[in-house]
Amino acid sequence: MVTLKELSQKEELLAGGHRLCAGCGAPVAIRQILLAAEDPVVLANATGCVEVATSIYPYTSWRVPWFHSAFENAAATIAGVESMYRSLKKQGKIPADKKIKFIAFGGDGGTYDIGLQSLSGALERGHTFLYVCYNNEAYMNTGIQRSSSTPLGASTTTSPAGQVIPGKMQHRKDLTAIVAAHNIPYVAQSVPSHWRDLTTKTRKALAVEGPSFINVLAPCHRGWRTAVDSAIELARLAVETCFWPLYEVENGVYRLNYKPKDKRPLVEYLKPQGRFAHLFRPENQAILEELQKAADHQWEKLLALCGEDQKNLDSQSHQC
């Protein structure tokens, strides 16, 4: 069990003073993940907000070895680092008792889209590393362009809500399911609002032999057009509306980590976000309904995968 007391006594590995926006969800998640890590870590970072805002030469926010190479290849890069670690260890060129954990960070653009092949390859090859997607549901670093993680109906700069087309016309991709289909030891979804969920999952992910993956919904107030201080609240709403369920797949076994006592209607999550504002006009009612339907369907499917459709689970939801 990860405790706040324990985490509060550890050194922050992502130093303050970085240039991410105030209220950004990504560094909150990353700090939690790094605090949860018990061994030394080496990081690879895909191009994106986190990369550009933490490494402005000659400064760096990283108190751990960190490599940024390009947009689409964080997984292949960390796979190379991990391969060297295995090679040198096998050859006795680094001490047998020296333990290092390898983590790659990428946004949804760098993970769902341009980096998907690199990620899939590294997962299939079975490198021991954790890939964390900080998922803010669009290309925020370049100015809020739609990605395959952007939800249906969201207005972005390349799927703007116009006179004829009301925002993005496609549903988001279910990347967590795609990763789970690689049959790797550990896959999970989490959010920065549920720190114990995220840190516990990080510990589990870093403990396995082979690849692990955590998809973290990381609200972006610039792109989502919300209040600057809303990230944690929105992450919580995403969970409470079952738009972003907290679950894990451990060696193929699905487990729901949190089941809301009272599943909230999706509009409660969509309403505060400017990117969905146009959906609340009467002519776009159907899109709202479609979004709710898709979220319900996904939730039912997940309940079935977790064996939750048969039982009432209120008592078993763990403390998030």
């Binding site: 990369e51 402005i56 070895p65 490599f67 390009a70 890069t77 391969s83 060297m84 670690y85």
Partner: protein, 393 residues
């Protein structure tokens, strides 16, 4: 004396890699370089090397994994061709700019479209500005020797750059030649242990690689790369000297053949050098003052040395095995011609594009070039600055 063997260029490269025993190799199959990693995979499977072989899902990931592995701190090698090199393009720059001494064999092959698996230099010539040292090989022996030297050159403290060793697809990669393999232990002694600078795996001393680097520093970092390339020139010659002591085979930036008193000459790189040499022998027997310069190192470009070597010629033909569409002539032509610009009496220079997509280059084609050079030498008239050999027009 090592062992005299008959083997293809690809197998010779794989043998060199076995002897080098890199810590990590990451590669993806592509004709005609596939065989190298195939053979190397056997060495891994049989426990003849300690290397981790990462069989990635694309060349982009191959170079990305090589970059990660090299930054982690160890010796890293790979091989590719053509489209594979093209897919790596973005990462070639990252490897060089991050100053990672990865050594890559490029088995030269034409680029699509249309699809063609045979030799030309479009692939590596396109990567000439990526910051990699480029060494070209005339035959399997040279490819083997170049690869071994590349390990030393790349990791040299004032250099720390990735090195591409190029050999002609099929012509060298798949032809069996007589060559010498040096002793394993001699190679190990020659290359020495790998030296890592700021390895990522040194978690006690964390470093940030690949930061965002804006108007205030980027130029200085690029300037440092230029300096590293300059330093590489001296290092290439120094390592060649050491290699000569080891093998008896001498190397420089290029090899001159009958050039001292020549009036006309051809400059070429890769396997065509051997063909041209045979023609020079014939012409010399006929009393023609024909010479040849076989370029080995294209990056760093040996500008002063080439100018010095070519200064007494009347006419020079540069043979390019790739074109530079929209430019005037091929890349080797442009750079060589520029190198001669400041000479008091520069030779006239013409360019031939040849051998695209594996089009055979025969003795008679080279003879035609020398005939043209003789004509220009006697009447001073260049009729075509850039021409194509063996093309149907």
């Amino acid at each position: 004396m090592g062992k005299i063997v008959a083997m293809t260029g690809n197998i010779a490269i794989a043998e060199a890699m076995r002897q080098i025993n890199p810590d990590v190799c990451a590669a993806y199959p592509i004709t005609p370089s596939t065989e190298i990693m195939q053979e190397f995979a056997n060495f891994v499977a049989d426990g003849l090397v300690a290397s981790e072989l990462v069989a990635v899902e694309s060349e982009h990931s191959a170079m990305s994994a090589c970059i990660g592995a090299s930054a982690a701190g160890g010796r890293v090698m790979t091989a590719t061709s053509s489209q594979g090199l093209a897919l790596m393009w973005e990462m070639l720059y990252v490897a060089a700019s991050s100053r990672l001494p990865i050594v890559m064999t490029v088995v030269n092959r034409a680029l699509n479209a249309p699809l063609n698996i045979h030799c030309d230099h479009s692939d590596s010539m396109g990567a000439r500005d990526s910051g990699w040292i480029q060494i070209y090989s005339e035959n399997a022996q040279e490819a083997y020797d170049n690869l071994i030297q590349a390990i030393r050159i790349g990791q040299y403290s004032g250099v720390r750059l990735p090195v591409m060793v190029c050999l002609d697809g099929f012509i060298i990669s798949h032809s069996i030649e007589r060559m010498e393999l040096l002793d394993d232990e001699k190679i190990q002694r020659f290359i020495g242990p790998h030296v890592s600078y700021y390895p990522l795996l040194d978690t006690e001393h964390p470093v940030t690689y690949g930061p965002i680097d804006l108007q205030d520093y980027y130029t200085e970092h690029k300037r440092q790369q230029v300096e590293a390339m300059k330093n590489a020139k001296e290092v290439i010659l120094e390592i060649a000297e050491e290699f000569k002591a080891l093998s008896g085979r001498g190397y420089g930036f290029f090899r001159e053949y009958c050039l001292k008193d020549a009036e006309i000459a051809i400059l070429v790189l890769g396997s065509a050098g051997g063909t041209a040499q045979a023609v020079v022998d014939k012409l010399r027997a006929e009393g023609v003052k024909a010479g040849l310069l076989k370029l080995r190192v294209f990056r760093p470009f040996p500008l002063e040395e080439l100018a010095e070597s070519l200064k007494n010629l009347k006419v020079l033909a540069v043979l390019d095995r790739s074109d530079s569409f929209g430019a005037v002539g091929g890349p080797v032509f442009n750079e060589v011609r520029s190198a001669l610009f400041d000479l008091k009496k520069p030779p006239k220079v013409i360019n031939y594009i040849y051998g695209l997509g594996g089009r055979d280059l025969g003795l008679e084609d080279i003879e035609r070039v020398y005939q043209e050079l003789q004509k220009i030498a006697s009447n001073g008239q260049i009729t075509k600055l850039v021409d194509y050999l063996t093309v149907r027009e």
